[in-house]
Assembly symmetry: C2
Homo-oligomer: 222 residues x 2
């Protein structure tokens, strides 16, 4: 059975989970506390990061972008990285924006402080760092709104890896109650659409001991 | 004429320059002081980052990974992202390692402090931050050494985007005199090989006013 080593509040894991579901590919989830640097896990991925995908033939794939490109190439029926050269360039550019800019300017500040410091027993969150992440988030929400008002979706006229990537980050922040949805209504409406897809369902059922999501986290109308 | 907006000490720009040369694609270089956020440049790339590629038909491509994937797809004769599904997954995983982990753990600490603070007139470098980058670099040098001792190159048995990516980062740090080459001899030998390629030549001729590279920077035997 295809297996995905993941962590529930890892946006990169969430992205691959949704990508697999959108491709209608079956898989088993195994939770990996990657910060514990388990020896067998490091042997699979020396970067010590989730997600790691083990395919049915036992071949190992690491790095969420490399995994999605691999899946797109191997299971091309329902395309998620664009239908043309132009679309693929835009999907990859905007996915990269969220994997890098958004992650380092927003997600990492908030999730490292609120979640991983707790899990690694490194003390209380630094509210200044959290605030920087929250402040940075606003222009990203506006960027999403600008794109979806033009195209309907983030990088093309249908859902692609770019939407999946952005929504995976936001869903983690939403679990922590940190997304000011009223800041940009087109962005909120786009997220409602993504959230209501069956591929997104299992993310909304995730629960981490010690962190209760806000009541609207799993609500499709919020 | 194909045009690449770049900045000489941007590792992401260097990667695309070498990638284009390895593909034998002609292009003109235009230096962009991206931190000045020039309006026309933001219109090309709202992320305000170099490189940006303008193709002969005037279409615009941004994000260095998206640009390389685009070039590989459009000019597939001499493959640089691997010859098989397995190789492509490895090339992408290791390229991503350097684009993300290495950049945020090493390059950014050192180059932001030493170069961009100066160019943005933000004061003197914080030597503690530089030191963190230098310290983090060591295990990455060992990672490269481990890979090249096994394969000859970083991700496959020939030069790929993974080597180009890693060497682009190291070449910027080497310009600043910050790579302790004697730390890992296989890594040094691999870098000598990359550095001696014609595709790398123009990087070694770059000079930034205010920053003189060490005498061995352009030497093929160092």
């Amino acid at each position: 059975m295809r297996t995905l080593y993941h962590y529930p509040l890892s946006p990169f894991s969430r992205k691959v989970r949704v990508f697999l579901k959108e491709k209608s590919l079956d898989f088993e989830l195994v939770t990996e506390n990657f910060w514990e640097r388990r020896r067998e896990f490091l042997a699979m991925n020396p970067a010590a990061q989730v997600p790691v995908l083990i395919e049915n033939d036992e071949s190992i794939f690491a790095d969420s972008t490399a995994i999605c490109e691999y899946l797109e190439e191997t299971y091309p029926e329902h395309k998620l990285i664009g239908n043309s050269i132009r679309e693929r360039a835009d999907v990859r550019r905007i996915s990269s924006w969220f994997n890098n800019k958004f992650y380092y300017e927003v997600t990492k500040h908030i999730v490292d402080e609120k979640v991983f410091k707790y899990l690694r027993k490194q003390g209380a969150p630094d509210s200044n760092i959290v605030r920087v992440g929250q402040q940075n988030m606003l222009y990203h929400l506006d960027f999403i709104g600008f794109q979806v008002e033009r195209l309907g979706w983030l990088a093309a006229e249908k859902l692609t890896l770019a939407d999946i990537t952005a929504a995976s980050h936001l869903s983690v922040l939403d679990y922590l109650g940190d997304v000011p949805w009223e800041h940009n209504i087109p962005t909120k409406e786009w997220y409602m659409l993504v959230k209501s897809r069956p591929s997104f369902r299992s993310l909304l059922n995730d629960r981490i001991p010690g962190f209760a999501p806000p009541p609207y986290y799993a609500a499709l109308d919020f």
